[in-house]
């Protein structure tokens, strides 16, 4: 588990992002390379 104590304007935690909520002001976000993210998580046993 990661405990986030304080954040700055440019620090982010990325997952695979989310679609379909742009009209509520929620950006898609997510990792730029979702394949690398998925492989990394598999390698780490997540």
């Amino acid at each position: 588990m990661i405990e986030i104590l304080a954040t700055g304007a440019l620090s982010t935690v990325q997952d695979l992002g989310r679609t379909g909520s742009l009209r509520f002001g929620v950006g898609t976000s997510g990792a730029m390379d979702d394949l690398a993210l998925a492989i990394g998580n598999i390698l780490l046993g997540n």
Partner: protein, 214 residues
């Protein structure tokens, strides 16, 4: 008008002319029309602009551009019977640190600025910037104040700010380049709800003067 591709799977339509309610109602109407297109995953109204996001990169971009142009020319204004919500605002003090900058820019007194800001019934034109944030139309141009040269890194949620000819309330803590003149208490976004944003385009906001700290 200006139409530009955003990467491979979205397109942005920017309407010509003024940022006013009549143009915005046409944008709402276009959003409704295009959201039912089978290839469109989301039609997102902005401030007199419209973004279409696609499920797959569209094959016929020229046809799409023509459809957007035609829709803008032909679209009737969509009247939305929105709700009306009153937000009590404490102007100035710790929650409105830049009220003095609006005084300096406009040459108006604090009382004049507060009354001009609280007078209109503002329309939610669009949501964006951050979850639940409302872009509002209807501010009195006499209190328009340019965006700050140096942004503030962290403002609390509920900050009532002026940026150029617009005003708005930050829905959560974050950075901002606008001048913050006051503070209100309101939950703008609840991610546990199916409809997570408290406001929708067409809703109306009135700011009530709760307190003025000089």
């Amino acid at each position: 008008m200006n139409i530009s591709l955003l990467g491979t799977s979205a397109i942005l339509f920017e309407a010509p002319g003024l940022m006013d309610i009549r143009h915005q109602r046409r944008i709402w109407s276009m959003a409704r029309r295009f959201s039912s297109w089978p290839d469109v995953s989301e039609a997102v109204p902005g401030m007199t602009n419209l973004m279409l996001a696609f499920k797959q990169p569209p094959a016929d971009i020229e046809g799409l551009i023509c459809a957007l142009r035609e829709a803008w020319e032909q679209e009737a204004e969509l009247e939305i019977a929105g709700r009306q919500i009153e937000l009590p605002v404490t102007y100035g003090g710790d929650g409105g640190p830049h009220l003095v900058d609006v005084v300096a820019h406009t040459g108006l007194s604090i009382d004049e600025i507060v009354h001009l800001h609280a007078a209109p019934l503002y329309t939610v034109y669009a949501l964006g910037s951050h979850p639940g944030y409302c872009y509002l139309g209807g501010m009195d141009p006499r209190i328009a104040t340019p965006r700050r040269k140096v942004p503030v890194v962290r403002l609390p949620g509920g900050s009532v700010s002026i940026g150029g000819a617009q005003t708005g309330v930050s829905a959560s803590a974050g950075p901002s380049g606008w001048s913050t003149i006051g503070h209100t208490e309101m939950i703008f976004f609840d991610s546990s709800k199916m409809q997570p944003a408290s406001f929708s385009p067409g809703d109306m906001i009135r700011f009530r003067i709760d307190k003025v700290i000089k």
